[in-house]
């Protein structure tokens, strides 16, 4: 009868599915045992964190892969995410613009089972973007910026802003400050600059990846801030240099500690970096480049760090990260960074970095 002759297609499909399932499970189990429980073997390493530095890390990863056979997967999920994933051991290195707080440091060291180093790899500028049709070359200074974000300066034609921009006709539109709503190393850099400049800011808001801004509209991600500023006349925001350049958004010049109004450029960022003072403890290379008094230095410059364990649990992955970072500190790689809007590390910092990496087993 037809029924019995009917090919047992569904049974075949079911059997096939089960077999594939078993094969996949077997493949999963076997690959897990070979990677030793962490996400990277020596040939693949995973990192996550700062969006600020992401373009550079990804470019370095690609170039490194071309010359050495190590694959590096970097996900830009934000500084906070980088610290978090690294602490959990889910990635082999973290990347953050904001140095870890003592609690974060303790947690990371507990999670990684060893001392965790901050290795500054990239230096870049945080720019102040604005949307004022007809106004070019806006000048601002730290106290004014702090007051704008504190809400005490509300309109563009406020006397404080007018004093900094003589001869420029400023409209009476309300200032619409835009800030990062999500956790961000850029927010950390911005708030740390404001805290240095303004005691009110330091006491009321403080320094954090998620400062509680009293005024302004929040946007997610630097692209969100850039977009919000571009779309809102009268808006003001802070983003990494590359976002301003790529989006062709007007940037303000900031007054540095010597009284000069400096626009964010490669030269002015480099001047700030060159004048920086660096710590001597290579296991904690955390420093600030804000509010530099060097000539021609832009005052809102931030380093960004890579977090690695001194004695990594996954030795192969740890060594791979160390080798990659040492490679990235070489001259050729350092000069590459200017293409994407960053500046090379000053030589003395490179030396300190290499010393730090040497302590990694």
């Amino acid at each position: 009868m037809r029924i019995q002759q009917r090919r047992l297609a569904p049974r075949g499909i079911a059997a096939g599915a089960v077999t594939m399932g078993i094969l996949l499970a077997a493949a999963a189990c076997s690959s897990s045992s070979s990677s030793g429980g962490t996400s990277g073997s020596a040939s693949t390493i995973n990192g996550a964190g700062s969006t600020f530095a992401a373009p550079m890390y990804q470019e370095w990863a690609g170039q490194y892969h071309a010359s050495h056979s190590v694959q590096i997967n970097y996900q830009a999920i934000g500084s906070g995410g980088g610290i978090s994933e690294f602490t959990q051991g889910i990635v082999d290195f973290g990347a953050t613009d904001a140095p870890m707080s003592s609690t974060e440091q303790a947690a990371a060291q507990a999670g990684q089972g060893s001392l965790v180093l901050h290795v500054p790899m990239i230096i870049g500028a945080v720019t102040i973007i604005y949307n004022l049709p007809g106004v070019h070359g806006l000048k601002l200074d730290g106290p004014t910026l702090a007051n704008i974000y504190l809400g005490t300066i509300k309109t563009w034609n406020d006397p404080a802003i007018k004093a900094l921009n003589p001869g420029v006709s400023l409209p009476s539109t309300a200032i619409q400050p835009v800030e990062r709503a999500d956790s961000s190393g850029t927010s950390y850099a911005f708030s740390s600059y404001l805290a240095q400049i303004s005691p009110t800011w330091a006491s009321q808001i403080g320094v954090s990846k998620t400062p509680s801004f009293p005024v302004g509209t929040g946007a997610t991600g630097s692209s969100g801030v850039a977009a919000a500023v571009q779309q809102t006349p009268g808006a003001l925001g802070y983003v990494e240099y590359s976002y301003a350049i790529q989006g062709h958004i007007p940037v303000a010049s900031l007054k540095n500690a010597s009284g000069q109004f400096v626009a964010p450029t490669a030269a002015s960022t480099e001047a700030a970096a060159a004048a920086g003072t660096f710590p001597t403890d290579v296991t904690h290379l955390v420093f600030s480049l804000n509010n530099s008094s060097a000539s021609g230095a832009y005052p809102l410059v931030t380093p960004t760090y890579i977090l690695i364990a001194q004695k990594p649990k996954n030795v192969a992955a740890g060594n791979a990260v160390k080798a990659w970072l040492e490679w990235a500190l070489q001259k050729t790689q350092q000069t590459e960074v200017t293409k994407l809007g960053y500046v090379p590390l000053p030589t003395k910092l490179v030396a300190l970095d290499l010393a730090a990496l040497k302590t990694v087993q």
């Binding site: 996400s39 990804q58 959990q88 850039a226 976002y243 293409k339």
Partner: protein
């Protein structure tokens, strides 16, 4: 009143057309075979390359989701349709699987993160595939049960009357007959899974590199994750890739939905929705 209705229709249709038009207009330039197979260039400002990592990851994880959800889902539907369809278990399962189709996908992501990612200390493609499978399961159960219900009673009776065992009847007679409906349901579930982003954020995490087909323990990209990441980048080249990726995704999902509908409407008048 008809005017208001037509206005309402336009309110829905015009944005849809705009979305399709924009995605095509902005995404078509970058479309090429290499877009589907090559990873992104490492320098963010460069054009070229593509979402090969995401395409591969989506295929892998959706395949895993299908393998996980289809056998279980179809067998569950068999129970609901063939054994004790009015029983307590069946009614409860039927009810809750309909309810489960409305679960926020981020919640499934949280669950798989807690159960898999934290335990294995790693994001992985198989965690992502598992999350997708959980999302697909209720859809498969529902649509397969509908398909099974539509199989004429006479077929069952004839087979049983001939002395064929129950399980054999189901496997050899009922399931093949219901196969078009089951396939439709599976295709719709696949289309849904291919378009998911939120659960993969927490399970597969994303990867800039092409992960080997046999590797399931490492973080993996998906088409949706790459679109999500690149759309928030300041670099026009990456934004352009995001649009092209959206074009690929929408094209794939629409093709799957249309094929599913075609399969169903070929069963003259037996389809729903």
């Amino acid at each position: 009143m008809v005017g208001a209705m037509i206005f309402a229709v336009l309110l829905a249709v015009v944005p849809l057309c705009l979305i399709l038009a924009d995605v095509i207009a902005k995404g078509i330039h970058g479309l090429s075979v290499s877009f589907l197979t090559q990873p992104e260039p490492f320098v963010a400002t460069l054009t070229g390359g593509g979402f090969g990592a995401g395409v591969r990851g989506t295929i892998k994880m959706v395949a895993l989701g299908t393998i996980v959800s289809v056998p279980i889902g179809v067998l569950a539907a068999v129970y609901l349709s063939e054994y004790q369809p009015r029983g307590v278990l069946a009614t409860t399962v039927r009810f809750f699987s309909e309810v489960m189709t409305g679960i926020p996908s981020i919640f499934v992501g949280i669950f798989v993160f807690t159960v898999v990612v934290l335990e294995t200390h790693s994001f992985s493609s198989w965690a992502g595939g598992l999350a997708l499978g959980i999302l697909m399961l209720p859809v498969i159960v529902r649509t397969s049960e509908e398909a099974l219900r539509l199989v004429p009673e006479t077929l069952r009776e004839a087979s049983l009357a001939l002395g064929v065992r129950r399980w054999r009847t189901i496997m050899s007679v009922i399931l093949p007959t219901a196969l078009p409906g089951i396939t439709t349901g599976a295709l719709l579930a696949v289309a849904r899974a291919a378009g998911e982003t939120a659960p993969l954020l927490l399970t597969a995490f994303g990867n800039t590199l092409l992960v080997p087909w046999t590797s399931w323990n490492a973080p993996e990209a998906s088409l949706t994750l790459q679109i999500f990441t690149d759309s928030r980048s300041p670099f026009p080249a990456q934004q352009a890739r995001a649009w092209t990726g959206a074009l690929v995704l929408i094209a794939g999902v629409l093709i799957l939905s249309l094929v599913a509908r075609a399969v169903i409407s070929r069963r003259a008048g037996l389809g729903r929705r």
